[in-house]
Amino acid sequence: MKSERLRIGTLKLRNPVLTASGTCGYGLELARYFDIAVLGAICTKGLSLEPRKGNPPPRTCETPAGMLNSIGLANVGVEAFVRDKVPDLRAAGATVMANVLGTSPEEFHRIAARLDGVEGVHALELNLSCPNVKEGGLKIGTDPGGVREAVAAARAATKRPIVAKLSPETADVCSLARAAADAGADAVSVMNTIRGMSIDIRTRRPRLGNILGGLSGPAIRPIAVRLVFEVSRAVSIPVIGVGGILRWEDAVEMMLAGATAVQIGTASFVNPRAALDVLQGLEAWRRAQKCGYDDIIGAVRIDS
């Protein structure tokens, strides 16, 4: 069954299953486990203008039904990404969504400009929501004015499809989504991690070197489903659902809530083939239901 809705701006998606930024390296790490070309897209680790070494350890700890991380956006930088990773991603036939980490509208502009026209980079996802950097990140992403400026700055630098990744840490995510759409984003993704903290009671120390970290995994899934539900009713551009998806059933739930596509994050730590398993399960279910993806997106039944 053909889908009309599986697209982000000019990019037609092969299917609605993507990997989430920061949970699949640069994509190539997963290529040892399965053919990454079969996914809707690979969303890379957040790329900054200069390489970043990240936060002091420990950077992760497990929490009930999830985990905290304070990676601090360690990455090779946009230049090294284009030079060292993109050729291999192209050779692998992957659809690549480069996750962009700016700390100011100017930085979003410069990184988007650097990626514009790079063969093998198909779309950009702007990280407007990382809880792990002091500058930019959350600040830009928690206020509609900040979101509008950052998206507009990137928009001015590229014709590639732009996805604005929104923070859950605001009273009104819908107004952030509207601001992103107004400024020219082709889609929004929700959600990034939400800040949390864990303390080792034996040592009385925080379990993360950075004290606070972002919570991910099934613990946040109901929040992500709620946000997708609300945001998809507030804007007309596609919404990408991300947060706590482990199995294909979770992807169906996210799509029923209103997601056009989903991203698989923490699940890939548990099982390197998680994204592929979700995709195969989803396809099998859809075929058994004799329906297309377009029939699932936003099809939650609400009796009024």
């Binding site: 486990y33 002091p56 350890p57 992760t60």
Partner: protein
């Protein structure tokens, strides 16, 4: 590569909260020093797999030495014959094989013995050179698989802090004595952070290359989360799962154990060290 289901074919509980598991599945190509990420098929709680060194690999059988620390290791240690364990690996770097004419000093502490035992067994079966061991723990029961190590290495000096087995004292002292007695070409070590820090320093002072097997909190174990960072001498970080676990000791900043501590006692010990300046390897991480 993939995550493969293995079955527990043998389980042996030892005093002190250690369990030896033999897992059988499809044969993997492994090298001493490599590790696997393990979970039982217990659904999604605990969620993340846990890293464990390979203590021995024989055809399709993997031997793992588990020390019970928290929920994940407790569940693994409770696995019974026939239970499924999901194995992701082998992962990470390995020890250099011991060449026929080489003399290598091996210093292990607690469960840190696992990868060293594999190295000793592999070196023996490959007709390697001399591998001399120092194996330390708090007390007698903190020297799991001591007999296996004694059988695999040329000789082993056992050391306990309370003197309940072998010499009384610290592994580092036994190491110093060995270095004074006979010439060695290099050193390999695995154990609590503080012990490895001391071993690395002593090896450097003796002008010997030293390979360490690192521990860090790991979410993925295969390089995609960037969680397992440890401070490196080049000013950045090394990643324990891909740059390690086996790495040249000179690449690591052997300051305090990255806080918060990785083990039950390490935080306390760190404070004690700072306060009184007791030897760095007195106690330490959870591998003792």
């Amino acid at each position: 590569m993939k995550v493969a289901p293995f079955h527990v074919v043998h389980r042996k509980a030892l005093p002190g909260g250690y369990v030896i598991l033999r897992l059988s599945g499809e044969a993997l190509e492994c090298e001493p020093g490599q590790f696997v990420m393990l979970r039982g098929d217990w659904g999604f709680s605990p969620l993340l797999p846990r890293p464990f060194s390979l203590a021995l690999v024989e055809g399709p059988d993997l031997t793992i030495l588990v020390k019970v620390i928290g929920e994940g290791s407790k569940r693994l240690a409770a696995a019974q014959r026939g239970d499924v364990v999901l194995v992701h690996g082998p992962l990470g770097t390995s020890f250099r094989r011991v060449a026929p004419d080489e003399r290598v000093l091996m210093v292990g502490g607690g469960v840190g013995i696992a990868p060293l035992l594999y190295l000793a067994q592999a070196s023996r079966s490959a007709a390697g050179g001399g591998l001399v061991g120092v194996y330390g723990g708090r007390s007698r029961r903190d020297l799991p698989m001591a007999a296996e190590l004694a059988a695999a290495a040329e000789s082993v000096t056992f050391v306990t802090e309370d003197g309940t087995a072998g010499e009384k004292g610290l592994a580092s002292r036994a190491m110093v004595e060995h270095l004074a007695r006979t010439p060695f070409d290099r050193v390999v070590t695995c154990g609590p952070w503080a012990m490895m820090a001391t071993v690395a320093r002593l090896a450097a002072e003796a002008g010997l290359p030293c390979e360490v097997s690192l521990e860090a909190m790991m979410a993925c174990g295969y390089g995609i989360c960037l969680g397992c960072a440890l401070p490196a001498t080049d000013g950045g970080y090394v990643y324990a799962c891909t740059d390690g676990p086996v790495i040249d000791a000179g690449r690591i900043v052997w300051g305090d154990q990255p806080e918060p501590s990785l083990g039950t006692e390490a935080g306390k010990d760190r404070k004690k060290r700072e306060g009184s300046g007791t030897p760095a390897d007195k106690k330490g991480g959870k591998r003792t």
